[in-house]
């Protein structure tokens, strides 16, 4: 189970958190939980737990770093994920992550799961959606991600 899903899980968590080390830690935590309650259908289960952990972890970090973010005068998009901003090497990756941060939790999760090769049935199982709702969720998520990204490009253009 570990060998099969570890890399994919870390990649998803890294995309979600922007922090490699945190992604590794959260992935380990997911596997520990899987040891505690072995899931019947591991893939959706592992990724659903991972996304929940990332969300909780993100909230905690956001609370801790809110004051700091104000001081550093980060862009409003990045402020939602302040810990990430410090580690971004690539401007484009930073903009993508900021755009991703503007999506709702569910839309973001659906996109990230799709990027890991999940089919609609698995996405539905991981997120607790009806299978028929996955297409709509993905349609909305893709559109919002692209629009948020373009919007950022405009803002930074104007700022310059």
């Amino acid at each position: 189970m570990y060998d099969r899903y570890h890399d994919s899980l870390v990649r998803l968590l890294w995309r979600r958190t922007g922090d490699r080390e945190r992604a590794e830690d959260l992935a380990q935590e997911v596997f520990v939980r899987a040891l505690e309650t072995p899931p019947a259908n591991p893939r959706p289960w592992l990724f659903a737990v991972a996304l929940n952990l990332a969300r909780d972890d993100g909230r905690r970090t956001a609370r801790q770093a809110r004051g700091l973010a104000l001081l550093e005068g980060e862009a409003s998009g990045a402020a939602a994920q302040p810990a990430d901003a410090a580690l971004l090497a690539d401007e484009r990756a930073g903009a993508v992550r900021a755009a991703l941060a503007k999506l709702s939790e569910q839309d973001r999760a659906a996109l990230l799961l799709k990027a890991e090769g999940f089919d609609y049935g698995e996405i539905a199982a991981a997120l607790g959606l009806a299978r028929g709702a996955v297409g709509t969720t993905l349609a909305r998520a893709r559109r919002r991600l692209v629009e948020a990204f373009r919007e950022q490009g405009r803002v930074s253009h104007v700022a310059r």
Binding site: M1, Y2, D3, H6, D7, V10, R11, W14, R15, R20, E21, E24, D25, Q28, E29, F31, V32, L35, E36, P38, A86, L87, A89, D90, R92, A93, V96, R97, A99, L100, L111, L112, K114, A115, D119, Y120, G132, A133, V134, G135, T136, T137, L138, A139, R140, A141, R142, R143, L145, V146, F149
Partner: protein
Amino acid sequence: MSHVDDGKLNALLDGELEGAEAAEVQAHIAACPECGKRLDEAKRFLSEAADLLGALELPPAAATPERDVRRVSKTAKEVALEVDDATGQSPAIGAAPPERLFRRGAQVRPEHHAFDYTSLAWAATIILAIGVGFLADEVRHVREGVPSETRTSAQAPGAPTGVGGAAATAKAAPEVAGGTGGAAAVTAAKPAASGRNGPPAAKAPPGEATVTAARSATGLGHKRLERPAPAVAMRAPEVQPARPAGNVTAAAPTTAIVTSSATPLDAASGAPAPVPAPASGGAVRGADRALAQSGAAETAGSPAAPAAFRRATLEEAVARLQGTIRLIDGLQSTRVEIGPGRLVPYADSTREVVRVIYGEPGSELVLEQQRLRVSQGVATAAPREAQVAPPALGPGDIVVTSSSDGLNGMRWMDRGVWLSLSGRVPADSLRRLADRVR
């Protein structure tokens, strides 16, 4: 058919529509320009979104810039301490104020870059110079066959008198006491070389120095074991000579000298010893590994003893632990093994260890346990070895160890049982799991 919604269009593009439904949707799109346009739009969003996520490719795990800086500065500091004895100066630290070295990469302004790199370059040059000198020295002395630690003290010609005194003691010791003395001298020479308390260390006979070192190692208690190397150096002499169980004769030190001079050499070089892990001791590393290796080395001396861990039934394990076994509440164990204590770092090497393994290879959790000796007087085979497990661990103590490759470990004692839990899980998860050991 009415217009096709975005959800269906995306499902079509993702290949998630059943044959009949897909055909129906495609037929509609072919006949409806508006839906055709929306399909094109959906296609663009889909590929662009995939592109954007593709920009978030996972970086290689190795180097985050912050860690590199920290590692360089730490090494520079260590070097500065060594230089301190000979010259009275700390060039590496002097060249770069610590606060500059510790600055986080993202916050460093451009004008600081030039300065940081220069000072790091200086530190690197010094490290390199000393490293090359050390290696050259190493090669020469290996050829001459001089035990490494004795040489370290004897070779500080410009050092203060205190150090010289310690060196003299260190040098004399092996001649007097044979194998044991050689290793004890290592401990005595160490504090003197660090330049902190020259004269007292010089006055103390090797035996006493060993005791002091042991105390300070015990004092680690709840702290993280950052550099367990001294503990190894301290332990090696006590363990080695006593091991060849049964024939405690003049012949014993022969093996002992070889192992005890090899082990501190690894520890003294400051780097984790590049030692192959023992056959079944997967969860062993750093100083633990060095210690385990000395155990493995001895196996050659006593071929009769079991060499590795073997599968066992739960009943067997319970019998071995005199009636009880500790398990992680709520977890299903994968297997149980029993093996010699000397393969398990810090365990009582005269007794067998029961190992309960959870999870699959790669993400294994290993719970090792051993019934503590009730009265030390009974077993006469190696009374001194009984001290091996307890000194670093008192009742209620928890020792947490951690390595850079993600392997974390905890050791503690609970109602007469010595326990060690390790695995590639975050330290706080490990702690929670340890709380559930019943």
